[in-house]
Amino acid sequence: MSQMTTTPVERSPLPGSAARASWLSRNRAFLIPYLLIAILLAAAAIRAPGFVSAPNLTQQLVLASYLGVIAGGQTIVILTGGIDLSVAWNLNLSAILLTQLGAELGVLPAAIIALGVAALVGLVNGLGVAYLKIPSLVMTLGMNAVLSGVTLVYTNGSPQGEAPGFARELAVGRIGGLPWALIFWALFSAALIVLLRRTVYGKRLYAIGNNMKAAYLSGVPVRRVLVATYTIAGLCAGIGGFMLTGYSQQSYLGMGDFYVLPAIAAVVIGGTSILGGSGGYAGTIAGAITVVLLQNVLQIVGIQSAGQQILYGVIILLMLFVYGRNARVRE
């Protein structure tokens, strides 16, 4: 009884209207965070006029760069339809390896080992998700627990050493008045955007995020792309760990905990669909700035950390709700 269930022959809408509609729907989500940034700045300007000054705004951008790098890894994982909850302790371990091993082995070997371990953690996540078909939420949550235990044993509860000079420069140093962190973030962003938009890997990533079955049937190496994605995400967490160590001069236990939810919030505020397949890093940049501004504006208005946590949760749930609705309508 085939013909019965067949979808009727569709008429395509006027070509122009289709193209316009798609431009709008593609960019609407992307524009929201920039609008939010404007509103937040206006609110801050009214409440605390000093907030909207060049030095302070630069400082806000530097803070956003740490979150932005961590959220970069989260962006590509979310684009596949997954999520990486191991960010917290992966970046923490990488920061601790950098400071502790830095004292024992020297800075360069320590940095290589720290990033290598971060990437390896991502690789294992990827293998679990791609080959063992473990849901990413469970795989990375489990990984996070393992890493927190490993870190605790490794440090005996108190990490040693201090941030090496390059990490401090990266986080808070300046060259000709321009923060190194922003220069690095610009390069990182350019690389990630090119990776997503202009490479074979990026095209395959979007294909998988939109429709894994169709991508598989089209000969896309789905597993390899997934493993690569989680590995890159691990690397991003590691770099984020370096930046945070440099910022606080040292490593400490639990330093990643405050970056998991904000990073996810930055991604979804930036318009990347939590269901995967649509969005990109340009939105996440705006999302990261929004989240950092939000944190500070909330502080100015007198809402403390508990209130902020509630807000992240609400934002993420709100975005899920909005995307969930869209997804239903699109079917």
């Binding site: 013909q3 009727p8 569709e10 395509s12 890997y201 979007y206 991508a215 089209s218 000969g219």
Partner: protein, 506 residues
């Protein structure tokens, strides 16, 4: 007076007419078969009768009264109970729980009375002759056949006045079929009307009193099964109102050059000992009623399934059935059944869909070259006359025919040796169909091989060099030359021997 009758039924789905002015009636105390090829309208009629679909026009009369069903529950409440082939059981429930689902007996405390449920289930199963099934067993542990028996038992527990069996025996072996038939005959003798749909003509012969034949959405005749000949029935099934024109078939070379050779391919009990060859330059049609394993065969060849046995060679080289990527590298292409969920990535632009399988060829060291993407997209647009506003609009804005062309274009770029096509012209307009037929002929002429599953008999007869008819997971017959006729395809599809029916003139 008929117990249940439907008169002047119209039913359309979007633009597709499934039933037009169709009639059906059955009487108390008869077993009435519904026959027809794919898409003839028999399943739609059944779903109208049991309240799954609401007709767009027409009336249903039940026990002398006009009646309207707002949903399947209304029909069941009235005593019209269907059993479908698609199993509706929950794997984690027991047999007894499944039989009583939604109507569990309660204890005085309001809890489910498991003991009574089990006891009554055992009695029911024994009465029906299915006593071998343990009421306490979990559905997941039962064989497919036993699950089907449970479905039937569940329907019978409701003491139906009209019992509808839609391919409900297809998972059963001969002995189990006979058990079901015994029960069905007893019900008939008690005055129940039974509507029976099966792709096995021998079952219809064995069981049914009358048969109504559907074709192109309308009932074309009702016959007494005892007196009608096979040829009369097949003739009613294949008469055809509309014919496309197909590109001419070039003569076959004196010596065939095998391209795709499949030997003893098997997959569980879904594909059984399949052996065939597709020669160079040949379009081989895959026919039969739907769900006889044609889709499984294409997926198995493409490496999607695990545990496929047998040998497959392309141009004498054995290939590994390790997945679509292996298949692609070995020179296979698959245009899958559902272009919306399997063939295309709807939200992505046309050019990204077209280049998805061949991305490395439009890239340097992993970096995409937009000019190369534009060039190949334009080549494909021209070669297949894909109509689109621009290559960067999402493919979902294209019409069905143009979407299908994009799904095919993706594989043309891989320059596969053998194309596996799953009903590529389903649901697309006549013009696009014509273009796809022409393309298939061109590909064949260029030395490719094509294995082409179609639910439309006319396509197999009109376009293909040979036809393979699948029946219950095996190739039942191979037809070529003058023997490749509607009549022969249909009789093989319903499990009959060669038909003597005249081919309907084109």
């Amino acid at each position: 007076m008929p117990l249940l009758s439907a008169t002047g039924i119209d039913k359309r789905f979007g633009g597709v007419v499934a039933l037009h002015d169709a009639n059906f009636s059955c009487e108390a105390g008869e077993i009435h078969a519904l026959l027809g090829e794919n898409g003839a309208g028999k399943s739609t009629m059944v779903k109208v009768l049991c309240g799954v679909h609401q007709p767009d026009a027409g009336t249903i009369t039940y026990a002398g009264q006009p009646i309207t069903f707002h949903g399947p529950a209304d029909a069941v409440a009235a005593g019209i109970v269907p059993v479908f082939q698609e199993l509706s059981l929950v794997p984690d429930l027991t047999v007894a729980e499944s039989l009583f689902m939604g109507e569990e007996p309660r204890t005085r405390l309001g809890l489910v009375d498991s003991r009574r449920m089990r006891h009554e289930s055992r009695a029911l199963l024994e009465r029906l002759g299915f006593g071998g099934i343990d009421p306490g067993a979990l559905v997941r542990d039962l064989s497919l056949a036993d699950r089907q028996l449970i479905e039937i038992a569940k329907a019978l527990r409701r003491s139906p006045k009209v019992l509808i069996l839609d391919e409900a025996t297809s998972a059963l072996n001969r002995r189990q079929v006979q058990q079901v038939f015994t029960v069905v005959r007893r019900l008939r003798d008690e005055g129940v009307a039974v509507v029976f749909i099966s792709h096995r003509m021998d079952e219809v012969r064995d069981l049914c009193d009358r048969a109504t034949i559907f074709r192109d959405g309308v009932d074309v005749g009702t016959v007494d099964v005892a007196t009608a000949t096979d040829d009369e029935i097949v003739q009613l099934m294949i008469g055809r109102t509309l014919r496309e024109t197909y590109p001419p078939r070039p003569p076959r070379p004196p010596v065939e050059e095998p391209l795709l050779e499949v030997k003893h391919l098997g997959w569980g009990d879904r594909l059984r000992d399949i052996t065939f060859t597709v020669n160079k330059g040949e379009i081989v049609g895959l026919s039969g009623l739907e769900g006889q394993g044609q889709g499984d065969l294409l997926f198995a060849l493409f490496g999607v399934y695990v545990g496929v046995t047998g040998q497959v060679t392309i141009g004498q080289r054995p290939i590994r059935l390790g997945g679509p990527r292996d298949a692609m590298n070995a020179g296979l292409a698959l245009v899958p059944e559902d272009r919306k969920t399997q063939g295309l990535i709807l939200p992505l632009p046309v050019d990204e869909n077209i280049t998805l399988s061949t991305l490395p060829s439009v890239a340097n060291h992993g970096l995409i070259n937009p000019a190369a993407v534009a060039t190949v997209t334009e080549q494909m647009r021209e070669r297949l006359s894909i109509r689109m506003a621009s290559p960067d609009i999402p493919v979902r804005f294209l019409s069905g025919g143009n979407q299908q062309k994009v799904a095919i274009a993706k594989w043309l770029l891989t320059d596969a040796a053998v194309y596996l096509l799953y009903d590529p012209t389903r649901g697309i307009d006549v013009g696009a169909k014509q273009e796809i037929y022409d393309l298939m002929r061109q590909l064949a002429a260029a030395g490719h091989g094509i294995l082409f599953f179609s639910t439309d008999l006319a396509e197999v007869v009109g376009l293909c060099d040979r036809g393979l008819v699948m029946y219950e997971g095996a190739i039942a017959r191979e037809l070529s030359g003058p023997a490749l006729t509607d009549a022969n395809l249909v009789s093989a599809a319903v499990g009959l021997a060669e038909s003597g029916a005249e081919a309907v003139p084109a």
